[in-house]
Structures are given as C-alpha cells and as structure tokens.
Symmetry: C2
Subunit: 221 residues, 2 copies
Amino acid sequence: MRTYGQYCSLAKALDLLGDRWTLLIVRELLLQGPCRYTDLRRGLPGIATNLLADRLRELEAAGVVAREEAGPPIATTLFGLTPRGEELKDALYALGLWGIPLMAEGPAPDDAFRNLWTTMPGDLFLRDRTPDRPPITIEVRAGEDPMLIETVDGEVRLRRGSAEDPDAVLSGSPDMILAVITGGLDLAEAEARGLCLEGSRSSVSRVLPERAAPASGAASG
Amino acid sequence: MRTYGQYCSLAKALDLLGDRWTLLIVRELLLQGPCRYTDLRRGLPGIATNLLADRLRELEAAGVVAREEAGPPIATTLFGLTPRGEELKDALYALGLWGIPLMAEGPAPDDAFRNLWTTMPGDLFLRDRTPDRPPITIEVRAGEDPMLIETVDGEVRLRRGSAEDPDAVLSGSPDMILAVITGGLDLAEAEARGLCLEGSRSSVSRVLPERAAPASGAASG
DNA sequence: CCGCATCCGGGGCGATACTG
DNA sequence: CAGTATCGCCCCGGATGCGG
C-alpha cells in the first residue's frame, strides 16, 4: 500500500482514504445506506469497474466497509459502512461544506447530477424554524429521483422518495434548488429565475436558512 | 484539470484538494503559518520538488494559498493560507480526528515524525480543566523541535518553541506522547512505560482529557 | 541556498471488453 | 449482477540541473 510515511493522524487517514474515488464511495454509502455494487456504479458516474472493486476491497480491509451476503429474496451482496465508517460523516460533511461555494457558478457542461447529492447540503443548512407547528413534507425534484424533506420532532430529515400529498413541491434546475437550500438565493427571487414552487410557500420558508451562509455566496450572478 | 464531473460539493472540493499531497500541504500551512518553499519541503518528507511547486500553483489558482514576496531582510517568497484556505481547518481536523485511532499501534518503521504534527491532536483533545488557576506552560519534546502547551484565558494554546522555566517538561517517544495527549494512556502508566515527566505533574494532568476518547483506544497494547 | 524546471521510469488510473 | 482482464496514458516519485 502506498503511504505517506508520516506519523501524523491526518496522513494516516489519507493513506486509507486519499486515493481517487475513495471518499466519494464513502459518500454514496453514507447517503444511500447499504447498497449493491450496481447501485454504487450508478451513484458514481465515471468510475471504472475495477477501481470500484479495488476501493471496496481496500475499504473493507481498513474496516470502513463491510459486505454482507443478503439472503433471499434479494440474494446479492450488499456493501455498507461499518460504525467506524459512519464516523467519517463529520469529516465528509466538513469537506462538503467547504465545497458549497464551488457550486455557485452552476454545474459544468458535462457535470452529472443526482438529487441524492443534495442531501448533504440539506443536512447542513435546513432547520425546522417552527418545530412546534405540525410536521410538513416537501418534495424536491431536481434530478431523476425525487427527494423528500420532512420535519420530524423538530428535526429535518431528508430521504429519497415522493409523497402522496406533500405540503409543497419544489422543482427546478439543480443549481437553483441548491442555491435556495444553502441560503444563497432568496425564495422569491429563485421563483423569478425559474424555480417552480407548488403548494405552501410558508412550508418551504419554514426550513430554509435565514440568509446567505457561505462567504462566497451562492448563485449571486 | 482532472475532475470528477459531478455537481456535488464534496466532489468539487475533492477536485481541488483530492490530489496527492495537497491536503498535507494545507496542513503544514495551517500548523506552521506562512512559510518558505524550503520549510514546506522540510515539513513534508518525501514530496518531490516539482509536485510541491505544482500543488502550490494549483492551490494558488484555487484561492486557497497566496504567495507574498517578503521584502528585506527576508527577501524570499512566503506561502500562506488565504481566509478561504483557513476555512479548511474544520475539515482537516475532522479527518485528523478520524485518523487518531490509526496511530495507536505506533509509527511504522520508516515513518517520519515532526513534533509540530502533535498540534492537531493537542488542539482536539487538550482543555484547561481549571481555567481559574494561574496559567501554566508545559514543554513537550518528542521530535527535534520542542513544542509548548500554554494555558491562556482558559484556552489551551500550542506553538513551537521552548520555555525558560516551564512548569513541566514532557519527553518521550512520539507514540507515548500522543497516547497521553489523546487520553488513550494514563499519565502514570505512561511514565511506567518510559515517558519522562519533569516538574509539576498536576500541571500536566490539568490539561489532559479525562479518559480514553477514540473508540479504538490508543497504545493499549 | 532558494525556488523551482526538466527528464525519466513505474504504476495508479480510465475506458472498454469480457465472464461466471 | 458482480466483478476480472487488458491496455494506454498520465500522474507520481526520484534525481538532476539551473537561474537568481
């Protein structure tokens, strides 16, 4: 194994996680939960199959990933994070938070996008500002699979799926959705720029952050 | 620039920071403050000179690093973090915290060690548990350059240097020092295993964490 | 001495094809 | 579905050179 050869905890962490694609694999497992090899491929557009297999082996050896043979009716191998792997959440979210301003200029021409990836900014920025009121559900449509924002016990939960009768439906381009979630763009202004809001506007603004949060702002141009 | 091609803040962050050595360069600048090319080389044993120059250019282009031409009497170029670069501290410390358990088994045979690297674990684990008492100074000697632990205004500060009349001097092998700092090893037991403590023991235990903190423990074997 | 640029060998990486 | 096999390419590591 290639190592930095430094007795430093950051260097040791990067010895295990610093290779290409490794942290993105952890991201997928963190956001999706245990999933199949094929699901990982779908969530990691562009990764070579041998690399994915290699990384999964390395992560397994490092105690970050565990594979379990799911019995019938699934009958396939599932890859999931170990508790030790779950402990990477803080580090991944810290890096993801640092990266938020980099999204301000919108996706590059060939950028892939999955709605699931908005989970991280959502977890970082959305809060239930009126937890005493009845719970709400908001459906978000930016990529292919819709996402749900739910308020439960004063907390905001994000997960895949769609609701039968959501309080609001938010649909628009990925960068627009993201700018609204991170507080870089006012809701009203986002609508003027093409964001589509159906249903209760107050439900949406209930979970949105107050003002622009990251230093560089988001989608200000 | 090689990119993951994903419209995700973590992927965008790794586009800039994911290359080999990049985050370790940021570590050095974070721990050392602005420093010269040669100082960086010294703090990054094993890096190739062209790689260091490349990375510094990339980081400069990304707005993470700024170079300043220091006038006389220094007359050299200094590399330092921009405010945007300083914002990486949380992410680096989160990764470093995750890596603490990896240090438990001690350094690998060829591992380099710099006392400065203990700054990160120190910042993460040391606290002034009796901030109302008079400030103290502890000198730590594990690598070549000694470090100082100081209590100032209820906070613990770490920096390079040595004191004229410290309240205590801690010297020993890197893994022993680290195990004590991270709370993986009791102070008394560390002394039995070769750690040398001169001066006030209570000064040392005043800043040490209460119990073993990381899950896997440290230097338990 | 400081801050690189250049050259070169090896291997990690990317893309595709293929298989139990 | 879950990988393995193969093949370029370019990143990386190590050495050397070189202008200021």
